[in-house]
Amino acid sequence: MGFLDYYKQFEGMPEEEVNARLREQAAERKRKALSVVDPIDLSITTWPEYPHPTVVNAITYTARRGLHRYLDRSAGELRSELAHRHGLPEERVVVGDGAAQLLSSAAYALMDQPLDELVTPWPSYGLYPVMAHRPRAHAVPVPGYGADAVLSAVNEHTRVVALCSPNDPTGEIVPAAELRRMLEALPERVVVLLDEALADFSDAQPLDAALELLDDFPRLLCFRSFSKAWGLAGLRVGYALGGPDSEPLLEQLAPELGVNELAQAGALEALRSTGHLVERRVERVRGERARLLMELRSRERVVVTPSQANFVWLEAAGIDGAELARRLDRAGVRVASGGSLGDPKRIRAAVHDGAATDRFLRALDGALA
């Protein structure tokens, strides 16, 4: 190092140069932060967005008003709102801690003999076989879906039919006409528990098509949820609707000490002020679902069933569901492997928005390449 160079190395950088370097470093950090893409979770069927602030405000207001006392154990206001919405008497509506709790309570109340059986198409919602075990009854999963599959398994021990429409995970529905045919064919002792937690997403028939059967078939109970299209899974609120003379049974389904007051407040506010948002959300899902199904059908290796839910149920030739789910997970797209849902060859992928659909399709193409 030369004499002058030795001293020149002690020259500090001018402020402009320091600031330019800081800007470069900040830009580099920003670029790196933006290049990180968070994984997208399409493995669950709940709504991915936060609840509307109005709902959160209503819950907060209720919490501040005082949680030190029981206010409305029978959820009268919420039941009244639901009854008005569906055009039924308030006595034929019961509110519970989610549709799952009501379904489980219904199975417990209805199956009181050890030989009683609960028939359900399979694959379907994993809770149905479990809720048969609680009253020491038997679950009878029937391969396939629809009225014929169910009727083929009904015998003298059948007490309950649990039917998910749209079905989780296949996305199929039982049209009202087919449901009517099944109800007419079923023996008098059999009660049909129709789980319509995902019914909002269906565009195959009017939302309340099945409810119109309630007056004709008192052995039909319909279950709805605020956990899916309404995006309030954390509140754990669901409700059941019954036909004439179903009031005593519906009373047995309600939680003994009523539904959480905060949950009631949130569900009530959602019904009163966010209905239009849910409609827009549902329309968006229907549009994206149609596009996704069309895209999937255009791929040779993919087999997908028609879906009326907020997800698609598909399999890819030459690769099982677990491996496909693993490959998609490596691409940052999380889906539910079919192994735990009743068909190891398939996967279940939720439908969110256009960006999620595009990303899922890109990941799927990569996984199948």
Binding site: M1, Y6, Y7, K8, Q9, F10, E11, G12, M13, E15, V18, N19, A20, R21, L22, R23, E24, Q25, A26, A27
Partner: protein, 158 residues
């Protein structure tokens, strides 16, 4: 003047008091041996002395030199105006040149101080100039009172 505006600092708000930031080097300097650092320390003292000397020139020798040159101009060209112009213009230019030299010396002093192992962030030119002015004023007062004398003013006719 150091700035703390985030738009001037890569979007980062500099919470530090202006002017107190550590020196940032392009590459970490390689310091010399302890012997060399001692030599650099001595060199920095010499540069400081040189700066004091240059500053002192501003308060005596340079004005006197240009007064002498102006008198030579007046004598040679028989023009008072031209002599005054030359004297003032020359003195001004010399002072500006001196300040430039002083600034160069100051920057060199900073580098040599850093090479000597001191975390030298600011120069010393302003302080040297101020102290030199005080020193020049003291020297001038001493000269005036002790050597030139105030006699003609205080005791006219002597």
């Amino acid at each position: 003047m150091p700035r703390t505006d985030p738009t001037d600092n890569g979007g980062l708000f500099v919470g530090r008091r202006p002017g107190t930031a550590p020196v940032k080097y392009r590459a970490l300097p390689k310091r010399g041996t302890r012997r060399r650092q001692r030599v650099d320390n001595g060199a920095s003292v010499a540069i400081l002395a040189l700066m004091v000397f240059v500053c002192l020139l501003f308060f005596g020798p340079i004005p006197v030199a240009w007064l002498w040159i102006a008198s030579r101009v007046q004598y040679g060209l028989d023009s008072v105006s031209l002599a005054i112009f030359v004297g003032f213009f020359g003195m001004l230019m010399t002072l500006l040149l001196g300040l430039r030299v002083l600034r160069r010396l100051d920057l060199t002093w900073i580098l040599v101080r850093r090479a000597a192992g001191v975390d030298q962030r600011e120069g010393v030119m302003t302080r040297v100039f101020a102290y030199s002015a005080v020193l020049a004023a003291i020297l001038f007062s001493g000269w005036l009172l002790l050597f030139a004398g105030l006699g003609p003013t205080l005791a006219p006719g002597q």
